[in-house]
Symmetry: C2
Subunit: 215 residues, 2 copies
């Protein structure tokens, strides 16, 4: 499958590499075609790795992955012609964190709305699936980094798109995928950020994850 | 120990009964001394159970437990003379949910503040410990209802108060108590409500809980 990964940060690089390691073709998109981080990633990732603008990556991918900073994600998609987005699956792994105010960061959207919902509203031609935004990026592509059974959450309005994402998650090694329903559940998973960040500070390591324990 | 449980709803009744079953003396407080739910609880709970006004319960308890609806909790404490609150531990199990707008309920405070922090700000003479607000009340007093290991979170500014609460949690049968630090972590645990409510809808049962899985 062809993936367009939007964003060149650690999350984008780790997921883009993860997709190439699963045998997929990946284009990493950024604001400019000559982004230095993207170029360094391409050299490391090998022949199935390409780089380009956000628009190039959107045009290339059958599945797009939002790894931009959540606070600017809507602007990124507004910069892409809608013809490059029609009917595509968008895996939204971003969280709407505002890091400008010091710690702990606040969420720029929460409670009665979420980044996932906003992207789905502003991109009605796409099938947004919120997923993987509740763990560190190295755990995203290698859940065995955290010992024992633990969960990844997905939500979205399109069942076929969620099935595609669930398949990818299984390919990464995820055993338990909790389908929370439609995209409004994005407000539930994005609001896990505050406790995730607190636990990260407590443990000094990002190798942990949530598990829902049931009777 | 003497407990003042504020609130007569299912959470207040379940916790109040739980404390009596641990051998403690409990007064359940409500807006009026002749509250019908409180009276029914007192008859069921036996000789170590008392009822009274919020103020009576606050005066009686060495440890107070906030089981009022989160949206009205600050008003409840404003109605109690501060002399009844000085130096007491307040276990805040409430969540600031506004159920008036239909489902899903929104949080009346979140993101950059929390009910726990607000209570601690408005009640500087008390030692607020946020705890038990992330699971169903029957799980609070009987964690074995959910099979396997799972977690309860505490936070607060006073270590001695947290030690008292941790001891109570162990008495209820909790094995893993995660101390998230000071009371600002209340915003992290209160923001678990949206996913808790979503999972409750998904499972059709409240017998589940969060577990943090670490490497």
């Amino acid at each position: 499958m062809r993936f367009g990964v939007l964003g060149t940060g650690m999350v984008g690089q780790t997921l883009a590499t993860g997709f190439t390691e699963l045998g997929h073709d990946v284009m990493m998109g950024s604001r400019t075609a000559d982004n230095r981080e993207a170029e360094a990633w391409r050299r490391r990732a090998g022949s199935s790795a390409r780089i380009g603008t956000f628009r190039d990556a959107a045009a290339f991918g059958e599945v797009l992955v939002n790894c931009t900073q959540g606070a600017v994600s809507p602007d990124v998609f507004r910069s892409i012609e809608p013809t490059n987005l029609v009917d595509k699956v968008l895996i939204d792994v971003a969280n709407p964190l505002d890091l400008s105010d010091g710690k702990p960061p606040r969420l720029t959207i929460c409670n009665t709305d979420s980044l996932g919902e906003r992207l789905q509203r502003e991109l009605p031609m796409m099938k947004v699936v919120k997923a993987l935004n509740t763990c560190n990026c190295r755990v995203m592509v290698d859940p065995q980094r955290v010992k024992g059974d633990h969960d990844v959450f997905v939500c979205g309005n399109d069942d076929a798109a969620k099935a595609t994402v669930k398949g990818l998650l299984h390919d990464f090694g995820w055993k338990t995928v909790v389908d929370l329903g439609d995209i409004t559940a994005a407000r539930a998973t994005e609001q896990l950020m505050p406790i995730w960040l607190r636990l990260y500070g407590l443990y000094g390591s990002a190798d942990f994850n949530f598990k829902i324990v049931r009777s």
